[in-house]
Assembly symmetry: C2
Homo-oligomer: 445 residues x 2
């Protein structure tokens, strides 16, 4: 039941444990993208309304969060700004704004929240992280292959293994339509039906194609060829006389040639039935799926005209998007250390010795350990050790009147309960050793 | 002159070089905060309008970016959501929402963009990063001292040295008003005049105090005592008979006692003239300033009633804010390596050998180097080496027909121009050595 203190519908608060897990994944992604020479780009959370609207189609425009004008204009009820809906429109604006300041080709990634006023649902949010990787200014298939390779390496680095990449080309699809004599009016419908082969049976898709005007036999043949094990071979014959088919098959072959050798063979394959919804793709297209996971983990392709259509310069472009929220759900949780706030907890048994406790915590931090003093009101050791334990501390540094008299600190192992008296003068070295041992322990053997 | 491709007024696009510099600073901050056991918290970019409005006062409410209702309600011109204006109101909501799930005390930091429809100006933005550090649920001065110590260590870790912390307490100020017989009506005005002693001369402030109804001699005495070198001593006598003064002086002494030993002596001091604008502080208050820098680098204090006033539970709280944008401007730039995209550039001299070039880049990445292949259309080595140089690459891996015949790779040092023929079979080891040497080179001796 939603309470008045919940975050707005479709948004989330991230407390430390989950946020750390997310940030760790983001760091892995940044690291892989960076290893390919992709640069980060960060644009504002909102754009001018006219920059965003009309770029996504009418349905999507309704999902844009619009920001009311301010001051005397607020009463107009009009909006002048809108929250970022994706990373592509801002990219086109940046390409137009900074043109010659950008490296060419411009290989950039953008990772951050986008906002869509979709109906919130299971795993669907109004504020969610989007992660895009694009290369502007190269028409080479090497650019497409590089994006795909980086996406693959990212998923692998995130610990995913059971996924595969379906590769196709819009030219292959155009060739198919031409070879099967599907006219331009029926084309888009036929392709969107074909794309359902990941969810529906061949018979169901054949039936739907027949409803779209294909003869039963043509429909059955089309379904058969796109699902054939030797589709590439069959299509190389079948699409030969078409205007664009051969070029599309060449794109697919080239990319498989470039990316394939680095990947396990089952990870990537030609999937002539794969269409992808968006109309703006102009060349190779691809999708990453995993068995049992609805939808795709990542997807992308070449879109040579889009940057100009969005107001940017006329440059070729290719790229893709990671479905971060879905990927995070799939990430194996095993091996993750439990979240803790502190390595070292420092009780304060006597307020007159609080300064010394403060100093002990500073000594622990200087040794590379996370350390904090007890901030509560109780003077009881038992209560304070409970706090230390709740904070996930591995050690407690106890310093009371007895320790003061002996010039020692009692170092308590919070797991075993063992205690050692360490001379104050030797504490820094002692803690540095603990820190090193702790790091060694965290690494897998 | 603003162009249609500029980001909205008061916002910024961050390209790679600046973004990397910012992210590096954020990472330093996270690391220091984490070393004190502060946990990260991330809340949505927007809150429900009723959560935000009425919390900051009328003037501030006008600066809130409001989000128009959607769908059929859009035409109403009404807003139902508002963009995050600070990190404190969301903290109060989180404290109310997650109460017992949070560790107690709850030590959290929040770092991210906030949005204010202020008039943009030099160094003043409508989208800027705010960084808050707060401890909820402790009324101990140790909590105040810990926040202050963490803020100090953060600024030091960011490379700042020429800064100092002014410490005061609201109780000291109340004691001062009582000792100087300033009534409750005149109190706030007198304090805000006193606060101008960081900008105006003592004579000017004395004059302004007189205008506020103090006698010339009282005004002069008040200014003298708050500026005195031995203010703590003078005030301990002067405030003794007041209701709250002695408690305030004790707070200040306690915090200096806890924090002082870890800091250079000139870094922190009692500043009884320091007031801070916000009315909600209830105990110790502090500000970090640097000579020649207008305003403060950081500021904060104890606000024991605010979380409840903002809709949260009735818990004591203390914390502060780093003025990140200002701090970033002050950060010493020296020692920063120039931004580069790649360590290793891989030319593609022959499209038939592109697969091998792709593989060479993968080998370099496996060795921990950032690597990319040439994506342009030129087949000329000179042109491709120009690209390698522009990308900041340290080495180029050249593989053409000659290298193929010899089963070698030509490794070119992009700085010296020296070239070595490395056997393909030994390349992985060779690159791993280069990567190690490069890392060693990046560290200061």
């Amino acid at each position: 039941m939603p309470s008045q203190f919940d975050p707005p519908s479709g948004t989330r608060d991230f407390l430390a444990a989950e946020l750390s897990r997310r940030e760790h994944a983001f760091e892995v992604i940044r690291s892989v993208f960076g290893s390919y020479g992709f640069e980060p780009l960060q644009t504002p959370a909102f754009e001018r309304l006219d920059v965003l609207l009309g770029k996504y189609g009418d349905e999507a425009d309704k999902l844009v969060f619009k920001i009311l004008r301010r001051g005397e204009h607020e009463a107009s009820g009009e909006a002048d700004l809108a929250m970022r809906y994706d990373m592509t429109v801002p990219l086109a604006r940046v390409a137009a704004a900074y043109g010659s300041q950008l490296p060419m080709p411009y290989k950039r990634y953008a990772m951050g929240p986008v906002w869509r006023a979709d109906r919130p649902g299971k795993g669907r949010y109004r504020e969610f992280t989007q992660c895009d990787l694009d290369t502007l200014g190269s028409s080479s298939m090497l650019a497409d292959a590089e994006v795909l390779s980086a996406v693959h390496d990212t998923l692998a680095a995130l610990g995913l293994s059971n996924f595969s990449i379906q590769l196709n080309s819009r030219q292959v699809l155009q060739g198919l339509l031409e070879a099967f004599k599907v006219g331009p009016d029926a084309g888009p419908g036929v392709l969107s039906t074909l794309d359902k082969l990941d969810k529906l049976s061949p018979a169901e898709v054949t039936g739907e194609l027949a409803e779209r005007g294909l003869t039963e036999s043509t429909a059955a043949e089309l379904v058969e060829v796109v699902l054939a094990r030797d589709a590439a071979q069959q299509l190389s014959v079948m699409l030969k006389p078409t205007a664009r088919g051969p070029a599309g098959l060449e794109q697919v072959a080239k990319i498989l040639d470039l990316v394939g050798p680095q990947l396990p063979p089952e990870r990537i394959g030609f999937a002539p039935r794969m269409v992808r919804g968006l109309s703006y793709y102009t060349g190779p297209i691809w999708e990453v799926t995993a068995p049992g996971v609805p939808g795709s983990l990542a997807g992308g392709g070449r879109y040579d005209n889009l940057i100009q259509q969005l107001g940017g310069p006329d440059i070729p472009a290719t790229g893709g998007s990671l479905g971060i929220e879905r990927i995070l759900l799939m990430q194996p949780a095993a091996g993750e250390p439990a979240h803790s706030q502190l390595d070292v907890a420092v009780p304060v048994l006597d307020q007159d010795l609080a300064g010394q406790s403060f100093g002990l915590a500073a000594t622990a931090r200087a040794a590379g350990l996370r350390a904090g003093v007890y901030l509560g009101g109780s003077g009881k050791l038992g209560r304070q050790l409970k706090w230390a334990s709740d904070a996930g501390a591995r050690w407690a540094l106890i310093y009371g009147r007895n320790e003061q008299a002996d010039a020692t600190v009692t170092v308590r192992d919070m797991v075993t309960g063992e205690q050692s008296a360490v001379p104050v003068s030797g504490l820094a070295g002692y803690l540095a050793d603990l820190a090193l041992a702790g790091q060694a322990g965290q690494r897998p053997a």
